[in-house]
Symmetry: C2
Subunit: 339 residues, 2 copies
DNA sequence: TTGAAAGCGCTAACAA
DNA sequence: TTGTTAGCGCTTTCAA
């Protein structure tokens, strides 16, 4: 019978256990000096009353929420999910809980989200990417908590950074493609301003191609993020029509790359013999599809794990909160869709 | 220069704006009667001081957190991500924020998570699945907030339900397979107790096959969830070795089904001519891979949207909090991997 | 190891 | 439209 009376408080538990509320409070924490019998009495009273600890009161009085706020562009992206999972796992041992929000790849939305999250008084905040509205930057700078930007190497970091250069990662793939003889190389995606990591990859493609003295104008738009497999397939269709002599194409992610691959299969175009394909992100699909996908591993889980460790170090004072940049080095993974 | 002074409170804003704290409080809400000039004065003072509203105090005093707690098995699953996104979108208009946690497909972990979430005093709690530890059931029943179980049709619901029968969904696919002439049908996955939806699908396979008078023992284990594409491929390998005359196979999800498909491609086995494949969940990959995948659309986003609407209705009193079951009807999607 | 007093920063309730 | 008072349920602080 769910009672309609108001729920029991710590004072009710204290009364039933025959101790003071302060003792009950202590009994709920580890590492506090409470006698074994008292602990047991409190446990019994808690059980009997169906008491549930009220974090909201604890949060206010102790000025601690044990939240770590996290923003990601999309909840439905295996790369970001890997980062959040590793981050969450790394924090949960220490009693910290991730408070997650997504921005839908929109810096205005990100600004709203950051404000909403900061009102919850998190212990630290992790954002994806290094491009923000000026108001969002100000909010983050003034929040008085550790700020970590990830999945990017911002020119002017707000606080800490755990990330990598999207442009350099793509350059590495191009260097390889040129080495093995591809000259007419195209790029799919990264045309939308909103997709900052995507445009960084596209910009990296252009400068790297130009540095090789190659034509960097085989650019196919895939529209605003998130770029689906279907959009990758459509873009590949356009590429094959506009630039039929293309020898290799780099896609903004493995998802669009897989879509592109399927479009070739539907059109009877041999991969990699007629056209090579490269992806980005090392999603599971790239490892298992036939032919398997050449891609770049950005170590999504490692980003999350290192971010968690950084937060724990800063919060427990073993690391000063002065800005530091942890650089991840993406790995080129050669598979069957390219030489 | 991030100051080391303690951050400003509403009282500081009130002083600077020349009003009472209560007026500042009102100015921060919509739909409260505050004069235009006062609002503007408060806004300026807020800006000037860099004041950030403190939800923790508000939460305690008003006994409202505007959190909706949500548990999902894994953060890295497109089906659950779709549900959470739709849920989150449906709630955010009304100022409700999702507080997300994942159980790693483990009811013990779910119990811990539920307790942790309830301490945050959410307005409602949404859980994935209908199987819980008895303590978790008790916690949910006594929480005094709306409880919604999703992605399942529990025998003994705790509160509300927005879900479907996993067993019946699989039965529908089998009925079709039998109609078009497949007799030797196998099932991959659902062997682990932990994967309750997976085992329901497997159980549905067995009873449906038996009802057709067919052999229901072509069962291939894929191990504990989450079942990856790779594990689906491995399971397909074992199926082809143990039961080489199998005519069709149903996989516990589209991910394992795609893995199974790739295994056939690697072995030069024609799909669907030599073996048909069915998946579950209508993931994007199934629509775009070649050949495209016959599957079951469980309407993940619709589950989230209907759950959001249900919560809003219950919270604003337009729907009584007596238990109700909203049944989703999964759709069989016939594509190229089967007749 | 335990307890008493005070207060975290808001907002419900009431009043003007 | 605005203000006053009190208090949400914990935990900090100090004391025993």
């Amino acid at each position: 019978m769910p009672s309609i009376r108001k729920p029991p408080t710590m004072a009710d538990v204290a009364r039933m256990a025959g101790v003071s509320p302060m003792t009950v409070s202590r009994a709920f924490k580890r590492d506090t000096s409470v006698s074994q019998e008292t602990r047991e009495a409190v446990r019994r009273a808690t059980e009997e009353l169906g008491y549930v600890f009220d974090s909201t009161a604890s949060n206010l009085r102790s000025q601690r929420t044990d939240f770590v706020a996290v923003t990601i562009p999309s909840i439905n992206n295996a790369n970001f999910a890997d980062t959040v999972r590793a981050l969450s796992d790394g924090l949960s041992d220490k009693g910290l809980q991730v408070l997650l929000g997504y921005t839908n790849y929109d810096v205005r939305e990100e600004e709203r989200l950051i404000e909403q999250l900061l009102r919850r008084k998190p212990e630290a905040i992790v954002v994806t990417g290094g491009k923000h509205t000026s108001r969002a930057r100000k909010l983050l700078s003034n929040a008085g908590i550790p700020v970590i930007e990830t999945w990017d190497l911002p020119e002017d970091p707000i606080g800490h950074v755990v990330g990598f250069s999207n442009a350099l990662a793509v350059r590495e793939m191009i260097d390889h493609f040129v080495t093995v003889g591809y000259r007419k190389v195209a790029f799919i995606g990264g045309d939308a301003d909103r997709d900052t990591r995507g445009s960084d990859r596209r910009a990296g493609f252009i400068t790297a191609m130009e540095d090789h003295g190659l034509d960097a104008t085989r650019l196919i738009a895939a529209g605003p993020p998130p770029i689906s497999m279907r959009e990758g397939a459509n873009a590949m269709g356009r590429l094959l029509e506009h630039f039929p002599d293309t020898e290799a194409v780099i896609c903004v992610s493995d998802l669009s790359a897989f879509g592109a691959l399927t479009e070739c299969q539907r059109r009877g175009i041999a991969v990699p013999d007629q056209i090579a394909i490269g992806g980005f992100g090392d999603y599971e699909i790239g490892a298992i599809c036939v032919p398997s996908l050449t891609t770049i591993n950005a170590f999504a889980a490692e980003i999350g794990a290192k971010t968690a460790q950084l937060i724990l170090d800063v919060l427990d004072g073993s690391l000063s909160d002065s800005a530091g940049v942890i650089t991840i080095r993406p790995d080129l993974i050669l598979r069957q869709t390219s030489r």
